[in-house]
Subunit: 228 residues, 4 copies
């Protein structure tokens, strides 16, 4: 069932390693079929080198396994919470990429310090609140998703397709599984630049709004004129 989606999700997970965003089994990508309301996701703890489309697990939006011999990623409840709340997204990606994770560990949002950032994210990359003890000890992975959704109560998830989970690491999303991985690659690059910028003297004030508008809107939305 959903062989194309499973192949796409498999390929997107392998891309994580090719882009050096993960080592061992430190990340996972999923994709959704909105008409069937089924999510295809990486199995837990499987190495990318050995991953085959047939290993990809299908779950419904309540987390029930619908197809697949393996256990889905332990982060599955986080992915599902995002799919349930962010109606337009088609793929979700989670990594522990070095520089983005550093900002997450520092519990600091990544300010928009340049046009590279503005080309992809319409403002700072937010960080979730630090989760309460009861949220950690309860349904932890679900509560991680809830913390992300709460962070976006006043931010448009389509304009800022990434978040830093406090003390943990980044999640990104997009129209497709591959798109969510591309955003993860760009986030890592932006995070590295911002980290080095901080080391060069501490100006962490964002670029002017006019420049943010110019760069984001020349690539996104109705008036975009970048690309073919």
């Amino acid at each position: 069932m959903l062989e194309d989606l499973k192949a796409e999700v498999c390929q997107a997970n392998i891309e994580l390693q090719r882009q050096r965003l993960v080592i061992y089994s430190w990340g996972n990508v999923s994709g959704i079929d909105r008409s069937k309301e089924l999510v295809a996701i990486k199995p837990s703890g499987v190495a990318y080198d050995k991953l085959k489309p047939a290993d990809i697990v299908l779950v419904d939006l309540d987390g029930k396994v619908v197809e697949g011999a393996l256990k889905p990623s332990s982060d599955t409840p986080t992915h599902l919470e995002l799919y349930r709340n962010f109606a337009e997204i088609g793929g979700v990606c989670h990594t522990h990429s070095t520089n983005a994770t550093v900002w997450a560990q520092a519990c600091k949002p990544i300010p928009c310090l340049g046009t590279t950032h503005a080309d992809y994210f319409y403002g700072e990359i937010p960080v979730t609140k630090v989760m309460a003890k009861s949220d950690v000890e309860g349904e932890y992975e679900l509560n991680t998703g809830k913390a992300i959704v709460q962070t976006f109560s006043s931010i448009d998830y389509g304009e800022v397709p990434a978040v830093l989970v406090a003390n943990h690491g980044p999640f990104t999303w997009g129209e497709s599984p591959g798109g969510s991985v591309e955003t993860a690659v760009i986030l890592e690059q932006v995070a590295e630049m911002a980290l080095k910028c901080a080391s060069l003297g501490g100006r962490l004030t964002p670029i002017p709004d006019a420049l943010l508008d110019k760069h984001f809107l020349r690539k996104h939305g109705k008036s975009a004129y970048y690309g073919q």
Copy 2:
């Protein structure tokens, strides 16, 4: 038309990726035929892996497309402003290479801290002024070029073939498209060293003039004795 130039520009764009100065479609190189007053430039948003000489767009110095099925780079007006004002240059390169972009984001010039820098740049790498809101909201890419040209009103563009656009990233130039890419590679290396030098205790005073003269002039100008 101008098949050799298009092949050279195509190759120089591919070199951006091979030298790890860009990811995805984050950079562009152009070249000019001064006798025909035509510029060959990368098409907008096309991946380097798929770029062929036939994809390269030819435009005149007013930006009118003369040949090519694709839209030229959205940064084309910046390139053209440089060709119109820097009469001796044959190629222009724009990247978001990590370390040079960090200095651009910090709106700080890169001081000449060592002979590696002095071998290629006769003084600091300047940063443009921060562009006014009206310049950003108006003909942005053209105004970016104007900001660069203004920065060089008191600097010889032949002696310092690179600039940092404030809040954005580097542009470099040279006698040829390939030469502008080589300068971009060297700028990135010099930017990394200067960034690390700053982290080691903050001395950001330039090297003595005599040493700058010695290194720049042994490789450039009439008395050069480096190379064959």
Copy 3:
């Protein structure tokens, strides 16, 4: 004798180089056969490119060579002290990997700053005391092992399978030679993130205990639910 163990130890040493944890001959991995009380270890100063299973040296727990034409690693007495005191371990690994060594040189433990760390280490990575002059001038490599063992007098070596030897570098261990190398790779990654986190503003307080418990215990122990 013990051909399988020697092949496994040989492969684990070669993995050190493949994972970029070592250059030249800067590291060594060993493995133990608990029933025979014999340790297989890399010969001293041999390049990884040329290492063959037949080069691996077998020593008893007192350090006497039982098989092999080459001299064992000069760090052998450190490995043996760990095998004598940490009864459950099957492999030991020593590297000079860049970021872990930086923390060792700074004589600072690596605090648990995020869930990446918590997934593998149940608390901070400790640093040994600085060794006394007499310990250095005496049986140095044996005394290095004793300093490690002393550091773990109040830490469970199964929960924190890594240590930083002050002024020197990391040792890691695991159920097998390959497992000790995997821990060395993860330690290096965690050390890099913690170093960059420190550069971003100095918060080096550990994550909440509840989050540490959650991440360590979902991968380790009776209640683990990560993986297949």
Copy 4:
């Protein structure tokens, strides 16, 4: 003439690039035949990819070209000054490797902060004095060599086979051309660790003498017991 030496010097220069110590033509290695008093050195400005043994230039100790169609490296007078004064060395290497150059640009010696350093260098890596204007404007490359020799008036060049030329970059030496390159690789690694150690809180006091003695002397001199 001296075909073996020229092949060895050619190979050592190519190794510079393979070890990522240089880009373009930013480095050079030489070797000496002490019986013939001839030095084989890289030609100036030639890319490593294209370097062949027949391109290597032979010069006498006064710098006169004895064999070869190309101009020798512009740094040749520096190499010759080292061969004339350091009687036991067989090879010299000069690079602009990133981290070692950062220390050179900062005009700071690299303190011995750990045993990785102590395994190869018996104390700090010194930095030359900043050269006087007259020395720069005079026979610059010869004077660079003289500044290095002066730095070693109170240091044993056999115990510390590396120097940082102030505002410039590192020179290393060894028993052979390949040995000088190996030392350059190790210097770069040690420089990176020391730079990161500085960023972690500023302790730049060297390790205790007893530990320095132990590590240096277990690999070097009469009582060495490392290796086969």
